[in-house]
């Protein structure tokens, strides 16, 4: 099944204004009707939690109301409809979007992706022994870089039964497990995306079920740190990072937000194909990251003037 990845996440929130401000400061574009888009048109949508157009909430604290998956074509939508209709109600909207629940009770939708194909430069670096990444006289440290999220990268669910939950995605929707934290959960990628993961699961008691975090891909580590330090400067609460994960290799920086989840900037994630052999290890601090830093106040070196006694 040619599923690409999360196309849009829909939230029902208690503080719409705060969420709108946060999403714009995070770097998404407000396009109206509660939608905020990355450069490729993947999106976050926020509505007042009592909005009747939203799917019903979980009984937990999570504000996530629907995960919309983007697929390549109508044939994939037809396959999904045929497969999932075998054991659950699958609704079909006028525009062809399918909606149903997964085996954990998360509200899902599937549609032909609305994302655009990006054609943008990677972060360009100069590395001894390699051909220069940037032209001579081209500057690397651009404080005015826009540092916009490029595309919705992945989501992470808290859920009570990781094995049952993962089987829904692997056996019914063709996702592949790339790596796994024993007793915590698997990293999953769908067939039309070779990113290390678009979905990760953390096994928890049922009263915790919800969205642990979501992430957008940035150009590279420099834009990730530029965007994150701008958030800190605006007074937002850094939760974890910057650092670099081991599984997936992605750089990370997580922020608290009024949508009641963590918003991560990520960059430079590994890509895998069918040749990849899944790794597994216990989730520990060591396994969780290669290194971890924390933003501190700026500083500069210096000494007294030469004529000082």
């Amino acid at each position: 099944m040619r599923i690409i990845g999360p196309d849009e996440l829909v939230f029902g929130v208690d503080n719409v204004k705060a969420c709108e401000t946060f999403l714009v400061d995070y770097g998404l574009a407000s396009v109206g009707n509660g939608r905020f888009t990355a450069l490729d048109n993947t999106a976050i949508t926020v509505r007042e939690k009592s909005d009747p157009s939203l799917p019903a909430p979980l009984k937990t604290a999570t504000m996530l109301r629907q995960t919309i998956w983007g697929v390549e074509d109508q044939a994939t939508l037809d396959q999904i409809e045929a497969e999932l209709s075998r054991d659950r109600a699958v609704a079909k909207a006028a525009d062809g979007t399918l909606s149903c629940k997964d085996d954990s009770g998360f509200e899902l939708a599937f549609r032909i992706t609305r994302r655009t194909v990006l054609n943008l430069p990677a972060e360009l670096i100069n590395s001894p022994g390699a051909a220069p990444g940037r032209a001579v006289n081209a500057i690397g440290a651009n404080e005015d870089a826009e540092a916009k999220p490029r595309t919705l990268s992945h989501i992470v669910y808290f859920l009570p039964n990781m094995d049952e939950a993962a089987r829904f995605y692997t056996d019914r929707l063709g996702f592949v497990v790339t790596d796994k934290f024993t007793n915590t959960g698997p990293f999953l990628r769908p067939q039309a995306n070779n990113d290390h993961h678009v979905l990760f699961m953390i096994q928890t008691p049922d009263y915790m079920q919800g969205l642990e975090h979501l992430a957008f891909h940035m150009q590279g580590p420099t834009e990730l740190m530029l965007a994150g330090s701008r958030m800190v400067k605006k007074g937002y609460e850094s939760f974890w990072g910057p650092g670099r994960h081991k599984f997936g290799s992605n750089w990370f920086w997580y922020f608290n937000c009024p949508l009641g989840t963590h918003f991560e900037y990520d960059a430079d994630m590994d890509k895998h194909d069918g040749e990849w052999i899944e790794r597994e290890t216990a989730l520990t601090k060591e396994a969780s990251q290669m290194f971890l830093f924390e933003n501190v106040e700026k500083w500069s070196p210096g000494g007294p003037p030469p004529d000082a006694k």
């Binding site: 808290f158 605006k234 937002y236 989840t261």
Partner: protein
């Protein structure tokens, strides 16, 4: 011997129905949150019981839900009663924020049992 009360902020720096982070550690992160409701000021350690190092605001001084009736951990949306710090919904259901005793003297808010700052 009782430790000396520590000055936290002026009372008029916290509006009714709002919150404030105070007592920053050496890295500038607020160790204590104060919430003001019905004229009373309540103090708690700024760590969600769900994780061992989880600051709770989503932005400087923003610790409450939209209508100011609950303390909200922005990490995962857990809601705590302002008056006793009990988590009513969320990943730390039934757990309690660590209380900091505060009192008001001459328009200023003081805390008396602040947690020690961890060694950096």
């Amino acid at each position: 011997m009782m430790p000396e009360p520590q000055f936290l902020c002026q009372l008029d720096e916290i509006e009714e129905g709002r919150s404030k982070g105070v007592a920053p550690n050496r890295r500038g992160r607020d160790r204590i949150l104060l919430a003001r409701r019905d004229g009373e000021v309540y103090g708690y350690v700024n760590t969600c019981p769900h994780y061992d190092r989880a600051p709770m605001a989503w932005k400087k001084d923003e610790f409450l839900n939209a209508d100011g009736t609950r303390i909200m951990c922005a990490s995962h949306g857990a809601l705590f009663r302002i008056e006793d710090g009990v988590c009513e919904v969320g990943p730390c259901l039934g757990q309690v924020l660590r209380r900091v005793d505060v009192f008001i003297r001459e328009g200023a808010v003081y805390g008396v049992n602040l947690p020690e700052e961890p060694k950096v």
